[in-house]
Amino acid sequence: MTILDWIALALLLGGAGFFFAGTIGLLRFPDTLCRLHAMTKADNVGLGLLCLGLALHERTLSGTLTLAFVWVFALAASTLSAFLIAGWAEARSDTGEGS
């Protein structure tokens, strides 16, 4: 294994760590907004680290571009759904239905 492979491994493990922490946060945090916070961090940073690690391991232009697209699309989807869920949760707590 070259030094790049070791860096890739470290990035992959870091990404897995973010997903692990995000999942624990999703399960344990008390309300919707805190859970969203944990979820989106895991999505954005965790997946970013995974993609970066895989790109370092792959080391081809097309592979790197594909992984970059994967990350950007997941980022867009998670950002938008987080905003929509947060808006829904806020509207619900405003009408006194609890969260």
Binding site: A76, L80, L84, G87
Partner: protein, 315 residues
């Protein structure tokens, strides 16, 4: 590492399957079903069947999941469900016989899969046809040429399914399932403008590469339907009780073009569903485009649970 991954995949599928059957709420079951579809798609990739994996991901996890979620929401928000009206509760299925029957069918299918070698009944025919065929993807060769009848009949089944659903729509006075929230437009508009060209490009790409690589009309049509679902959820397309001539034409164009092509086979060949010499690729492409449009329209309308759709141009 891969055997470990495969084992985890199998155990995950079994666990999810149990979770779907045993879930206490409808919503939980539907969400688990969608996750099951995604894991199933990964499983198909591991089994070297990328065509099936694509179809499973877009139809099994995507469109079916959206349909089930819509039905789930309709049942939750509809105060007139039989149980709450005090009407007769649906009889509980006899669980033990049902479980025994499922296990027997599952065991029989597993036995068939294990004993059949070489992945299906027609590998020789494909191996003979493939080197000189105008399509280079064995799955497309089977779907469009060797077993064209099957694909034609599938198109009929899809149209019949929609007609059945439409008959139900006429008799039930369901409100539109989704009332899009206007204030969310500043979130959803960027997504629409970003995803519309990308999804269109992706659908056409999957259709185009279907001749040489995994892909084809079903996957492309389901991607178009995903676009249709997104437009409905964001309020750009609204369900309507009237279906215009355009919608009707889109619904039947797949079957129409395919049947026409099947009959024309008699004029340039000696059997229906044969491809003309030299123009095989073009004919296959025309049929695939028509199929894609029909599949996309059918799935979009099924999600709308209405006979038609009309654009909503208020911004």
């Amino acid at each position: 590492m891969l055997p470990v991954f495969d084992t985890m995949l199998c155990l995950g599928l079994l666990w999810l399957g149990w979770g779907i059957v045993a879930s206490t709420t409808l919503f939980r079951g539907v969400v688990l079903f969608m996750v099951f579809g995604l894991l199933m798609a990964v499983t198909w990739v591991r089994l070297s069947a990328p065509d099936v994996a694509l179809a499973e991901a877009v139809i099994g996890a995507g469109i079916a999941g959206a349909l089930l979620l819509g039905a789930c929401k309709a049942m939750l928000s509809d105060p007139g469900t039989p149980a709450e009206q005090g009407g007769p509760e649906p009889a509980a299925l006899p669980r033990l016989p049902a479980a025994a029957l499922s296990l027997l069918v599952g065991a029989a299918l597993a036995w068939l899969m294990v004993t059949v070698r070489g992945g299906g009944p027609v590998p020789e025919a494909v191996a003979i046809a493939l080197p000189t065929h105008f399509l280079h993807n064995p799955v497309s060769v089977i779907l469009l040429d060797l077993r064209g009848y099957d694909t034609l009949m599938e198109t009929v089944v899809l149209l019949l399914a929609f007609l059945g659903a439409r008959a139900m729509m006429r008799h039930s006075e369901l409100d539109p399932l989704f009332t899009p929230v206007a204030t969310h437009r500043h979130y959803t508009m960027p997504l629409i403008t970003l995803l519309t060209p990308i999804l269109l490009l992706l659908a056409l790409h999957i259709l185009w590469t279907g001749g040489n690589a995994p892909g084809g009309a079903f996957q492309a049509g389901a991607l178009l339907a995903a676009l249709g679902v997104m437009y409905q959820l964001t309020g750009h397309l609204r369900p309507s009780r009237e279906s215009g001539p355009g919608v009707r034409a889109l619904l039947v164009c797949g079957l129409l073009v395919f049947s026409l092509f099947a009959c024309l086979g008699l004029t340039w060949g000696d059997a229906p569903l044969t491809y003309p010499r030299g123009a095989g690729y073009v004919s296959a492409l025309v049929v695939e485009i028509a199929l894609m449009l029909s599949i996309g329209t059918t799935l979009t309308l099924l999600f709308a649970a209405h006979p038609g759709l009309k654009p909503d141009l208020r911004q």
